[in-house]
């Protein structure tokens, strides 16, 4: 009775949509609405300080300004630099930590909890601690040099976020069937070969997840830098989110600030798509 089945099926589909509706509505409200609103705002000239100008539609002129703005470009370059350095350091150190924690240790539970502590700390608190550590009571300062200022920033972020990467990788490590190592050992493969031909390939999904999460997060960096250098000296450490924040809150240029915010959104979005394509294993794509 195919007819009846399909009626039941379509009823089921309708029910499914009905049940999913609250969640979809929540996603639309929480995710889609603010993005669309920001986009709409970015197509207007809207300056809170100059209400007599109204809020005229200006098409892409805010984007044109952003694309010809040297400060926006250097902010994007800073953001990419921060993302590349922190994510690679977190990945390398996180992998080492995960491998260490994956061994049969006596106090494994407490050790794992201790390793996670930095991650549990609020970013602003962590950034303040690192700032105080690098602020010498003497007359010189790391934060006065445009290159040296990156050192405490990157260290603080790596220190804080590395445990998160380690946690993701540790979960991946625990999914690897132990008998593979035994078989490899029987075939005469040493620890290096085992790591290169068993651990790394099988860890690939976990590494992909860590890289996607961390690089998207790092690309939106705001708080660590806001607290430690405020983007200085000059604008030598200013990331794009901080510039967007300045345009919005200090300059009250909502149209232009929204265009900068949309740029952060677009880059993050395409970064996410690119990473997922590059790093996903063939099975998980299909």
């Amino acid at each position: 009775m195919p007819q009846r089945m399909s009626i039941a099926e379509s009823r089921e589909v309708r029910m499914a949509w009905l049940f999913a509706a609250p969640a979809l509505l929540a996603i639309a409200l929480v995710a889609a609405f603010p993005v669309l609103w920001t986009f709409w705002e970015s197509l207007h000239r809207h300056d809170l300080r100059l209400p007599w100008l109204g809020r005229p539609f200006v098409g892409l002129s805010n984007y044109r300004e952003a694309f010809t703005d040297a400060r926006a470009w250097s902010a994007i370059a800073h953001t990419l630099f921060f993302t590349a350095t922190t994510v690679s350091a977190e990945l390398a150190l996180g992998l080492a930590l995960a491998l260490g924690l994956n061994r049969p240790l006596r106090a494994r539970g407490p050790l794992r909890a201790a390793a996670l502590l930095p991650w549990a700390m609020p970013t602003v608190v962590a950034a303040l601690i690192w700032r105080f550590m690098f602020e010498s009571p003497g007359g010189s300062s790391w934060f006065v040099d445009p290159l040296a200022a990156w050192v405490p920033i990157v260290l603080a972020d790596v220190w804080k976020m590395m445990p998160f990467v380690a946690l993701l990788l540790l979960a991946g490590l625990q999914n690897i069937d132990h008998s593979m190592y035994e078989a490899a050992a029987l075939d005469g493969a040493g620890p290096v070969r085992q790591f290169a031909f068993i651990t790394l390939p099988l860890l690939r999904p976990a590494i992909a997840a860590a890289v996607v999460f961390r690089s998207l997060d790092a690309f939106r960096v705001f708080d660590v830098i806001y607290v430690m250098t405020g983007g200085g000296p000059g604008t030598a450490t200013e990331p794009i989110s901080l510039y967007a924040f300045t345009a919005l809150f200090r300059d009250l240029r909502f149209g232009f600030g929204s265009a900068l915010a949309m740029m952060v959104f677009f880059v993050s979005f395409f970064l996410a798509l690119a990473w997922i394509r590059l790093l996903a294993t063939p099975e998980s794509v299909t």
Partner: protein
């Protein structure tokens, strides 16, 4: 952060609800049925204590009102951001706002504060520079509460008199560092924030330059400005009189260095005076005095004019009572009390002729007045924050040796001009009657 704002903007009503929920007494009246006026501003340390005392007296004189203090972040930038969120959402509270002198034009232009013309306040006794900053397009929008001026603090135990010229300052600072083994000669506020602009303005005036000239033209790329900024940079990197760490310092870090006896000179606001005379926390109590900033040939000693002003929220439902509160807080008695307890300089000229002020401040009112008379306002424009940001960045780049002073100031001047043109405000940075 960005998303939060958008949500706030999208739903002003929600914000009003949240705010109303946040204030226990909400609109209408307090738990005892009395109508409530809300005041928001700085309430650090002794300021909260004076305010509570003065609110009590106001309530006695103006029944049935009750005044509630809503304290705001200490950092001026954060306070301004909070105000922007409240006012852009058209929140009716707080009724009275404490504004930094440089925000008045911006808030007035945005329609966030109410013109005070209806109340016809008498303004002849206030310092003209302070009142000037309270006007926008011919209307008065705020009243000066207290004035802040940049002063030179110097160590009376290490030198007979303060330096009159920038070169003498450098020399004396160097002598004291060599002779007494002090780690720092001169300390100021060099972090990338508004304070840096005020310190630069004082050096600039001392070298004979201005940020904006009398025609409203941006002149931060003048020869005088290049000389002033070069002097500031060289004091750090080639003369080693100013520690490079000042480029991360705000007021408090420089005060700590000076009150721990580490520096021969400090540039700071009046608030530091009272705190450093307290021998419980200060090693220099009784060993320092204030003076005008030095000047070079062709310039004159210059203080940056700062200060706090009181304005009425444009959406306040209690404008009349709010004005009564402002008039009360800016009356001579309340100003003297603030001077005594918090060391803040009154904004009324006539008080400087009274012995009561000398006694209240613990320093000669005449020398305070001398500094105030050398005070120069910052440009009065609704886009001041943006102009300041542009300038801060270039000053900081030059001082951290990323750019030559001439190049940095040239860039700052053209970016500032472009911002004024974009806002349609060219030539209108400063308003003259």
């Amino acid at each position: 952060m960005i998303r939060t704002t958008l949500a706030l903007r999208a739903c002003p009503g929600c914000v009003a609800l949240v705010l109303a929920g946040g204030i226990a007494s909400g609109c209408g009246g307090g738990s005892d049925g009395r109508p409530v006026l809300t005041f928001s501003g700085s309430a650090v340390g002794r300021e909260a204590e004076i305010l509570e005392r003065q609110f009590d007296r106001f309530e006695t004189a103006h029944p049935p009102w009750r005044v509630e203090l809503r304290s705001t972040p200490d950092s001026a930038d954060e306070r301004r951001q909070l105000y922007v969120q409240w006012l852009n959402a058209r929140a009716a509270r707080p009724d009275v706002l404490q504004l930094d002198v440089i925000w008045t034009a911006e808030f007035a232009a945005a329609g966030w504060i109410r013109a005070l013309d209806d109340f016809a306040p008498v303004v002849s006794d206030f310092f003209p520079g302070s009142i000037e900053a309270d006007r926008w397009r011919g209307s008065l929008y705020a009243l000066p509460w207290f004035v802040d001026v940049g002063m030179l603090y110097w160590r009376t135990d290490l030198m007979p008199q303060p330096p009159a010229t920038f070169e003498a300052l450098m020399q004396q600072a160097d002598d004291v560092m060599q002779g007494e083994g002090l780690p720092f000669g001169f300390v100021w506020q060099g972090a990338r924030y508004e304070g840096l602009v005020t310190v630069f303005l004082e050096h600039l005036g001392g070298f004979g330059g201005q940020i904006v000239d009398e025609h409203g033209e941006i002149t931060v790329d003048s020869e005088e400005a290049v000389r002033a900024l070069t002097y500031m940079r060289d004091a750090i990197w080639s003369r080693h009189v100013v520690p490079s760490a000042v480029l991360t310092w705000q007021e408090e870090q420089s005060r700590f260095a000076f009150q721990n006896g580490q520096a021969a000179f400090m540039r700071n606001w009046p608030y530091a005076h009272a705190l450093m005379q307290d021998s419980r926390g200060s090693r220099v109590a009784g060993k320092f005095d204030i003076s005008l900033m030095p000047a070079a040939a062709g310039g004159s000693p210059t203080a940056a004019l700062g200060g706090s002003h009181l304005a009425i929220n444009a959406y306040s439902a209690h404008a009349n009572a709010a004005f009564d509160l402002i008039a009360f807080l800016t009356a001579p008695d309340q100003m003297l009390e603030r001077a005594r307890v918090a060391g803040q300089f009154p904004s009324r000229l006539s008080l400087y002729d009274t012995p009561a002020l000398t006694e209240a401040l613990g320093l000669a009112a005449s020398s305070a007045r001398r500094v105030i008379e050398s005070a120069r306002p910052r440009p009065v424009t609704p886009i001041y924050s943006e102009l300041s940001d542009i300038l801060q960045i270039r000053l900081h780049r030059a001082l951290s040796q990323q750019q030559e002073p001439r190049e940095a100031l040239g860039e700052a001047a053209s970016a500032m001009r472009a911002a004024l043109t974009r806002a349609g405000l060219d030539g209108g940075t400063r308003r003259y009657d």
